[in-house]
Amino acid sequence: MKSTIPSEPSVAPVESPPTPYAPEIHEALPDQHQDLTDIMRHMIAARVYSTRLFNLQRQGRAGTMAPVDGSEAVAAGAAAGLDPSRDWIFPQYRELVALGAFGDSLIDSVALYNLGHPAGGAIPEDVHVFPTQISLATQIPHAVGMAWGMKLKGEQACTLVFFGDGSSSEGDFYEAANLAGVRKAPVIFVLVNNGWAISTPTYKQTAAESFAHKAMAFGMPGVQVDGGDPLAMRSAVSKARQRALSGVGPTLIEAVTFRLAPHTTADDPTRYVPPEDLEEALVNDPIRRFATHLESLGVWNDELHTLAEQAADKRFDLAWERAEATPVVPESFFDHVYETPTARMVRQRREMQADLAAREEY
């Protein structure tokens, strides 16, 4: 079996069966168990939301979606290291369900988005998260731009951008990371290395010793973190944030994890993922690992786990009901192209309305 984890990770990959996390990180944490159980709940909600959306797609009721399975700790842990009232997150497309820390209402947008409703592109105004980005790596320069702007305005804030191992091959990554280094922009690059870019394994993606090594070329630190450990993620992001706000510049965090589900609902990973790799990864399912850890701290148990799942299910029901009840206005795709539509668009909209009316008559 080829390892997707480079030879000398800064945080050792967990052995099977799950063991407690790197103790040096966890013992340094203040005793804030509420924080820990919050992260646990966000991770569980992520899995529940994702699974529900996946199943809805299978029933033909929702669009193509990319399941979060395996990246819950990366996203929820990273979010826990930020200040949701000041910092901004630029997701790709897999992380949004796990960003409950940035706003409970995010799932309402996600539901609309997956339903295929235009309103799904609007993130609630108080939630500092950019919309789903389908075009890979394009959000990386956006995050650098906002971070640069925050710095120019003297704000004590930073941006964090999620992207994948595949996206790190795109020019946008190199160009943006280079710029961030030059401008010392307060941005945190979270490269989610889940082992696979659809069917392409990491060894076909890069010949670098690790993705974190790429940071060297941009004059920023690169750290490799166990992406199955939300507290390792939180710790790494917190440090990167301090660095960003102190004006020293950006950080690249490689979050090493494994994609436990298909790339998207349109993918069949049994064609290319070695089953033994998946089995091994499933043993280290980040949700189970973290639950085990919290149980060892005496702050979690099966009952709380089930309650968290039920709460997420209920919250999703509500979001989906709201989404399905949101009226669909066919010609609404003319809205928001410009502040004021062009005369030609006004004419097209009129024609479309006439066409729809004629069909109803027919």
């Binding site: 193509t64 235009p118 097209q348 909209r349």
Partner: protein
Amino acid sequence: MNAIQIPSADATPATTKVSSGQTTNGATAKAGDAKPASGTTAPPAQTDSSERNMLEAIRETLFAEMARDERVILFGQDIAANGGVFRATEGLMDRFGEDRVVDMPLAEAAIAGSAVGLAAAGLVPVPEMQFLGFSYQAMHQIVGQIARYRYRSNGNITMPITIRAPFGGGVRTPELHSDSLESQFANCPGLKIAAPGSAADAKGLLTAAIRDPDPVLFLEPLRGYRMVRDEVPNGEHLVELGRARTSRTGDDVVIIAWSYMVELANRAADQLADEGLSVGVLDLRTIVPLDVDAIAEAVSAAGRAVVVQEAPETCGFASEVITTATESCFYDLEAPIARVSGYDVPYPVGLLEDHYVPDVERIMAAVRRTLEVSA
């Protein structure tokens, strides 16, 4: 007969059709069964054909051209081990090896840009853009480099590259997977653009594209992969780039279309025939080169024309077709040439896309409108 028989992964109906048009069909092409071509390039007598869908036609063409010419190299995202996200390259890696069917790092600019160097090294690159919308990330290489090298080098460096790219909507993809960008590329001299509307043409045009000394953007309609199905010649089959095809004859109005819009135009013509209207369909097959003579002939004969495109109205390729027709047959026109297109908005989300993409009803309405004008 040097036909290459490719066992089809789609011989049985797809078991699970999912929104991107991809299937989870478990069948696998037994590429090892493929018989290599005998090496002759003389077109064999086309004594037989059989019905296949566009995806099968494309796949068998790739098999045939790779067997025929060992310089042909395929590369792109998920095309090798996974057989392409639509299975267009299924079985090719097993048959031709990982050096000729290559999974690339996720970087469209490097996929397009390296094709330049591969071509200069004497290979015949057939890169794939996983979706045409992803070619925005390769625009500077396709438009600014691939299309210009012959010109820049005063004919010294040529680019026999075929860029395959699925495009077009109607299958509930995520954003930027459905955009019809053909007119953006058509405004880029040096690039040829094929957009077949039938499975037979997919085979004939792809064969011609791969053998063409100039770069060709080969557009494959997402909706057409499995829904467009027709008789495909079994042997070698070449369709010259730049020759339109009369898909259907008709005297009252001619509908001009390309790619999947040809299928819709034919359906509209069928339904209008029930109303006693004789509607012809001209399939452009390639938009660059453009078959100006065929357009002039068809429009002059009917005197009334409708051009259908899926792209937004403004600066869509329909504008070029209509101008071309007007220039050459203004005095034969009995009505203004109508166009049916997407609207001037970004390709919309799933719940709205059926209202955006031209459909049979809109095409029929345009034909009727055109006929209402009395000369």
